[in-house]
């Protein structure tokens, strides 16, 4: 019964997302073409004559009318072909398939790290408002969010790589002496674990630590603030007073009743933070030479390379749809009272 309704929910939500995805496709397509750059001029090279530019325009198919280009684009999409990136010379599908796991791995790692610090900090701050823990949490989170990520990243590199020599050179996912693990999930840490290669896992983790800490510092703030606020709300509510009056232990009151009720807004925040981190950590990727999707899309945008940007936005939009669905399902698990209608 429950499983049936869950399945119905998933199918209904996915169907409802289709028009939104189509709208995303149309808008991205039009926006890219409305931008001032001209890809034909850009890719024809510095020395291009007008004829050379027209030749390139023809090769790129940009001499056709907009509706014609759009129909061709849709036809390719229907075949699962996201097109080819001119800046990197690879197909967009290949690039996204290799770069999305890199971004996912970094984001997940940073998120776990941020949660590990921000949740306890938020709970402690809520149980002792006005205490030193509360102030510490405020200072930490304010500092984390107000320092731009590229600054924190460069600072960490300067201290831990340049001065102390503890961290490896900021060279992306894996030092070139290693070869990546056989691809299963695309996440290097998980794949090396699956391959049972501890040394390789260590090498991957080493590369991950600094960028993950940089990102975690930045996203700790909203998580800790949200945890604190919703914990304060929960702790002040009637059912907690009742629980306390009934003589339940402090731990039970705090974790089973207050925290579980305070989780909903935190999960919502997490969803937002996650989607934000995945696509918008361009600066972290640039600083650590991390081959993620964000820097890929930005480079393509700067070069007015249409296909990668369109592919990126479409992938991101699909991911958001999935993510929102997961969060809605989580809602139901955390709080059975929540009924989600598609």
């Amino acid at each position: 019964m429950r499983r049936g309704s869950l399945l119905r929910l998933v199918v209904k939500r996915l169907a409802a997302a289709l028009p939104a995805l189509f709208a995303v496709i149309v808008v991205t397509f039009l926006l890219m073409r409305a931008m001032p750059g001209d890809p034909a001029v850009y890719f024809a090279g510095l020395s291009a004559t007008r004829e050379a530019i027209e030749q390139v325009r023809q090769k790129l198919g940009l001499d056709r009318s907009l509706p014609e280009q759009f129909v061709l684009y849709l036809r390719d999409l229907a075949r699962g072909d996201l097109g080819q990136s001119i800046t990197t010379g690879q197909t967009v599908a290949y690039e996204i398939a290799t770069r999305l796991p890199a971004s996912l791995e970094l984001t997940l790692f940073a998120l776990v790290l941020a949660l590990a610090v921000a949740l306890p900090l938020g709970i402690l701050a809520a149980t002792r408002p006005g205490s030193w823990v509360d102030h510490l949490s405020r200072v930490l989170t304010t500092a984390g969010v107000s320092l731009p990520t590229f600054f924190t990243g460069l600072l960490l590199i300067y201290v831990f790589y340049y001065l102390l020599g503890w961290a490896p050179a900021p060279l992306g996912r894996l030092d070139s002496v290693w070869s990546p693990p056989p691809r299963i999930s695309g996440l290097f840490t998980l794949d090396s674990l699956l391959a049972g290669d501890a040394a390789l896992l260590g090498a991957c983790l080493k590369q991950l630590v600094l960028p993950a800490v940089t990102m975690a510092l930045f996203v700790m703030a909203p998580i800790a603030r949200m945890t604190r606020a919703s914990m304060l709300g929960a702790l002040g509510s009637d059912f907690i007073r009742t629980a306390r009056a009934s003589g339940l232990t402090r731990g039970t009151v705090l974790y089973r009743y207050a925290f579980r009720n305070a989780m909903l807004p935190v999960v919502t925040t997490l969803g937002m933070v996650f989607s934000f981190m995945l696509g918008a950590n361009v600066l972290v990727e640039k600083v650590f030479a991390w081959p993620g999707v964000g820097s890929y899309a930005l480079d393509a945008l700067v070069a007015s390379d249409y296909a990668p940007v369109q592919g990126f936005v479409l992938t991101m939009a699909s991911l958001y749809v999935l993510l929102n669905l997961v969060i809605d399902v989580l809602y139901g698990l955390i709080d059975p009272r929540v009924r989600i209608e598609a």
Binding site: P36, G37, D38, T49, Y162, L164, W166, V209, V213, V302
Partner: protein, 530 residues
């Protein structure tokens, strides 16, 4: 707490392993670069500059340039001497209408197939046919039609000249005319793609000194020496790892820590500081036939007026730009158009210097005693030097009554804007591969109005001098013609050269053999590591 301990452990372990890897072996070279190649095919559409480096080291050309040592002990290619690469010798026809190349009999492609004249023909036919940059560059040396290329026998190849052009021979030694394994490439050609552009973008069919070991676009490219290379002395470096590190700060940190061997593309400030600190070697060469300049659109008021243009030339704060925007990493040229290492250079040629009184007087003579308003544009892609330069220029021009609004243009749109030729006042740079003054003037000042003639300058007297010099055989007359077009360009001053940029490279002191190339890419074949 436990997490903190875990982190510390990871850092420590990281530090140890990181170091072991970085020490490297003496026959492995680690290069760090801002961005890497996007193609292995120099003839492809949208092939970027780092791809020239890949192509240069993987492919062979018929000829290459010799080397000369400069007074400061540094080495550079010698544009006056052509040396054999795939061709072991060549012979000019007695009537001067063709050249015949003898190919090396022992030259092999990476798969072992002998290199033959039909490969050369296929490759050259491809370069003049595919359009875009390669075709343009071939044309610059009067190499325009497949009919010019003739297979005499397996190892003999002839190029017929369309006209007597002194650029033809050197143009056969630039990065474009690479020799491709035609049989291999043709296997991957299709009806729509007869030149196998698609396949050669990501695959190699070459005979050069290095083989492509692995290529991860956006991350790293690894090359390994071709042990059977016969077109020159076997390179000393066995393996080259080129890592893409987008952040300039990190590239510098890696060099200073000894984790990288070579880096180009650092901001001038970094090169200047590293040269002073002396930890790593910084080698500089003035880029030939190149300058950064202030351009003016001569088709529209106020810059259709030569006096107004001269006023700008007297108002540019040359010295300040040179020291604060460029940190002295270049050569100050105060208006002079022929570069220090190009034929016809004359330190006293330019009358211009910073003289605001004179500039004001010229403004009055031009009919703008109270000045005018305009916009000053620059390419954001080179904001490190362009932005301070624009601000200094704005400040100085304000003093002679020219009020400017700064217009920052994103790199992707810059070429588009240049092509439209509508910007009234802008900062730009130019560099030519072939180091001849008339080559520079032909692209920048000729009425053919190429994209590099950003000022839309058109003057029949100028064209006559450039065309005459281009095909001049009498050295005396040639020198006169060069002086002639230089003077004309300085008097009319549609653009004002401000400085000649340097090609700076930072490397470990153990790296030997570096030499400057006009294409400004690293040639792994000459390097050695102590």
């Amino acid at each position: 707490m436990r997490i903190a301990r875990l982190l510390v452990t990871l850092f420590v372990v990281g530090g140890l392993a990181g170091h072991a890897a970085a020490q490297g072996r003496s026959d492995t070279l680690i290069v760090v670069t801002e961005s890497g190649p996007n193609s292995m095919d120099i003839h492809g559409v949208g092939t970027n500059r780092p791809a020239y480096q890949a192509s240069w080291n993987i492919y062979d050309r018929l000829m290459t340039f010799g080397v000369k040592t400069l007074p400061d002990g540094s080495r550079m290619y010698d544009y006056q001497s052509l040396k054999p690469e795939l061709a072991e010798s060549w012979q000019m026809a007695a009537d001067g209408t063709s050249v015949t190349f003898k190919l090396r009999k022992d030259a092999r492609f990476h798969d072992g197939t002998p290199v033959s004249a039909k490969d050369v023909k296929w490759s050259f036919d491809r370069a003049v046919t595919v359009g875009g940059f390669p075709t343009f560059q071939m044309k610059a040396g009067s190499l325009e039609k497949p009919e010019q290329f003739e297979v005499v026998d397996d190892t003999t190849f002839r190029v017929k000249f369309l006209r007597k052009d002194r650029f033809t021979m050197p143009d056969l030694a630039v990065p474009v005319p690479v020799i491709i394994h035609s049989e291999l490439a043709k296997k991957h050609a299709t009806a729509q793609d007869p030149w196998a552009l698609e396949w050669l973008k990501t695959n190699v069919a070459a005979s050069g000194a290095y083989k492509l070991e692995s290529w991860k676009p956006g991350m790293e490219t690894i090359y390994v020496r071709n042990e059977d290379w016969k077109s020159g002395p076997l390179p000393k470096i066995r393996r080259v790892i080129v890592r893409e590190v987008p952040s300039a700060g990190n590239r510098r940190a890696m060099l200073e820590r000894g984790d990288a061997d070579v880096s180009f593309d650092l901001p001038p400030k970094d090169f200047s500081e590293m040269a002073k600190a002396g930890k790593v070697a910084v080698v500089s060469h003035p880029v030939e036939n190149a300058h950064a300049y202030v351009g003016m659109n001569v088709t529209k008021p106020p810059f259709n007026n030569a006096k107004a243009r001269q006023a700008v030339a007297y108002a540019i704060p040359y010295e300040t730009i040179y020291s604060t925007a460029l940190f002295g990493r270049g050569t100050l040229v105060t208006g002079n158009l022929i570069a220090v290492n190009t034929f016809g250079y004359d330190a006293k040629a330019s009358p211009y210097r910073t003289d605001l009184a004179k500039a004001k007087q010229l403004m009055a003579e031009a009919g703008y005693p109270s000045g005018f308003e305009t916009t000053l544009s620059f390419d954001m892609g080179f904001a490190t030097t362009n932005e301070p330069m624009a601000v200094l220029l704005q400040e100085s021009l304000a003093q002679i009554g020219i009020k400017t609004t700064i217009n920052k243009i994103p790199g992707s749109n810059w070429r588009n804007m240049l092509l439209k030729k509508e910007m009234p006042l802008y900062i730009n740079a130019f560099g030519g591969w072939l180091n001849f003054p008339e080559y520079f003037f032909f692209w920048n000042y000729h009425s053919q109005n190429a994209v590099f003639n950003t000022m839309s300058y058109q003057n029949p007297a100028m064209d006559k001098l450039i065309d005459a010099a281009r095909f001049e055989t009498d050295p005396k007359k040639y020198a006169e013609e060069v002086r002639g077009f230089l003077k004309l360009a300085l008097d009319d001053v549609p653009r004002v050269a401000v400085y000649q940029p340097n090609l700076d490279v930072a490397m470990q002191k153990t790296i030997k053999g570096y030499q400057y190339w006009f294409h400004r890419q690293l040639d792994y074949r000459q390097l050695a590591k102590d």
